[in-house]
């Protein structure tokens, strides 16, 4: 699948934003601190920026409101509805922290749950597509949720440090979430490498009974919408290298520096936590790029890809 920058940015940014919002909703930070107020604003900016980025690839964005109507059947519509609804508790929590130095525990909890549900809906847009076998697995929502939570914890660790105190257990929770997220991702990659394709040129043409089927000529000499949108292929050896790079930058580095931050002075800890976040952001972007670039669409059986 073509790795469109707008969709990669959307899912990475909004994943980070929702993860941070979950942690704020659970009350991991002191609402009176300036750093916490900044964290609330950052979560809202990341979520809104992500949603705006996702409208960039629409052919007719002026009608985007219509996408809220089909929640009974469509995960994309469910995601839209949840994203809009989740703004209510998130804005209320941000307001309480910014202007009243307080936390609304129930609203926070509700917001946290709704954030997780929104991320789940995003993941199910992809996981529900049978035509893209790489995505069509419960491991896809598992990865999206764990990456969002891990990102939230890395960000919360950064803001806790900025607020003056990084508790050891936030760092530990962060390391656990990072481990879980990358373990799930490696399971996803393993499945991708080892699965037998459910659809082949033989089943796509129904001619497998006669012999080995292979494309002789495409319908047209030039590219078309389908080959541009779904014909992207990344070389296996590059994919292997990129997944190692992503894990190193987004999993191992953040884990090590988060642990180091708990035993260093505030100044150094701030640098360490920022480094953890930068590494995680880079690793997630690579991971999300691969998510698209590695996925093969069943239609490629008709295009020899």
């Amino acid at each position: 699948m073509h790795p469109a920058p707008s969709i990669i940015l959307f899912s990475t940014l909004s994943g980070l934003g929702y993860g941070l919002a979950v942690m704020l909703g659970l009350g991991l930070l002191d609402p009176a601190l300036v750093s916490t107020k900044t964290a609330h604003l950052l979560a809202l900016v990341l979520i809104t920026g992500g949603l705006l980025a996702s409208t960039l690839h629409l052919g007719n964005p002026q009608r985007a409101w219509r996408a809220l109507s089909q929640w009974r059947s469509s995960w994309l519509s469910r995601e839209g509805v949840m994203a809009v609804a989740t703004f209510v508790p998130l804005l209320a929590s941000a307001w309480a922290s910014l202007f009243h130095d307080m936390r609304l525990p129930l609203v926070g909890l509700l917001g946290a749950v709704m954030c997780a549900v929104t991320v789940y809906c995003t993941a199910m847009i992809y996981a529900s597509l049978r035509a893209i076998q790489a995505w069509n697995t419960p491991l896809t929502p598992a990865c999206y949720l764990l990456f969002s939570l891990a990102g939230g914890l890395v960000l919360v660790a950064m803001f806790a440090t900025l607020g003056g105190s990084l508790s050891g257990w936030i760092a530990l929770a962060g390391v656990s979430a990072l481990t879980a997220a990358w373990t799930a991702k490696w399971a996803w990659w393993r499945r991708l490498r080892t699965m037998a394709p459910i659809s082949t040129p033989a089943s796509a043409t129904g001619l497998g009974g006669i012999g080995a089927v292979r494309l002789f000529e495409r319908p047209h000499v030039n590219e078309n919408y389908l080959t541009r949108e779904m014909g992207y292929k990344v070389a296996r050896k590059h994919a292997a290298k990129l997944s190692l790079l992503a894990t190193a930058a987004g999993g191992i580095l953040p884990s090590l520096v988060l642990l180091a931050a708990t035993i260093s002075g505030t100044g150094i800890a701030i640098i360490f936590c920022t480094l953890a976040f930068a590494g995680f952001a880079l690793g997630s972007l690579i991971e999300r790029w691969l998510f698209f670039a590695q996925a093969r669409h069943a239609v490629m059986n008709y295009y020899g890809g």
Binding site: G59, S199, N224, Y225, V299
Partner: protein, 253 residues
């Protein structure tokens, strides 16, 4: 409304495509584009139409496959390998994922005849329906920003201003080889149902769980080249019937 009809549509209109007969002439591709660029919804645009990088929206495309039996040889040499031209357009699936994934209600399947359509005034051009279709039957029109797909020429088949013979999809009307058949696949006595039953019509990618309405007829077994070789003129062994008699007479003269 992107829920699929809950009752079984009384009619299942669709195409039956005969892979034994299609010669890959692309006439149906052109007639489809010609009819539909001026018919239902937005025009089918081309980008860079007179340049080297021309691309455009098509609702029907012909792929060509090479099929080599086990132990066979490559196409173009002796052996049983063969070329099959493979027309492909929307199959108007009964369990159409393109309908249920649509967030806006633009994609729908008609209750009365099972045709899958896009209401372009509602379409936001998100492209998710094209992703969900394993068959590549949907293409986004880059000029209009809305999703285009085969309408089964819904503006022809019920159009009483057309002569009766023209009330079939444009591709079917055009095909010079009679490789395309149109009819009601829910009616076991229809022309298309009979063809499917007699020729062993099949579904494309049944494993995708989409239950396509359109069916494909397999190529008939091919004569082996070796069996058809003409006896050489110098050699009359194995001549039968009239030729055996003629052979004998000529030998005696």
């Amino acid at each position: 409304m992107t829920l699929l009809p809950t009752t079984r549509p009384p009619k299942k209109l669709g195409l039956v495509i005969d892979l034994d007969v299609c010669v890959g002439c692309h006439a149906c591709v052109i007639s489809c584009k010609e009819w539909n660029t001026g018919g239902y919804g937005a025009a089918l645009s081309d980008q860079d139409p007179y340049g080297a990088d021309v691309t455009g929206t098509f609702l029907n495309r012909i792929h060509t496959f090479e099929i080599v039996p086990e132990g066979g040889e490559i196409v173009g040499e002796a052996g049983d390998a063969r070329i099959v031209h493979f027309p492909k357009s929307c199959l108007h699936c009964d369990d159409a994922p393109c309908v249920t994934v649509c967030p806006t209600g633009a994609s729908y399947k008609r209750e009365e005849d099972g045709i899958v359509l896009v209401d372009e005034d509602k379409c936001i051009g998100c492209g998710l329906c094209a992703w969900s279709c394993a068959y590549g039957a949907r293409e986004m029109d880059l000029a209009a920003g809305v999703m285009k797909k085969c309408t089964l020429c819904v503006d022809r088949i019920y159009n009483e201003t057309l002569a009766e013979v023209d009330r079939v999809p444009s591709c079917v009307r055009t095909c010079p080889a009679n490789a395309r058949h149109y009819g009601d696949l829910a009616d076991p006595s229809s022309n298309v149902s009979i063809l499917v039953a007699e020729r062993g019509g099949f579904d494309l990618m049944p494993e995708q769980g989409t239950r396509p309405v359109n069916k494909y007829l397999p190529p008939r077994p091919r004569d082996r080249l070796a069996d058809k070789a003409m006896p050489l003129a110098e050699n009359s062994d194995g001549a039968k019937g009239f030729f055996a008699w003629l052979d004998g007479v000529l030998d005696r003269i």
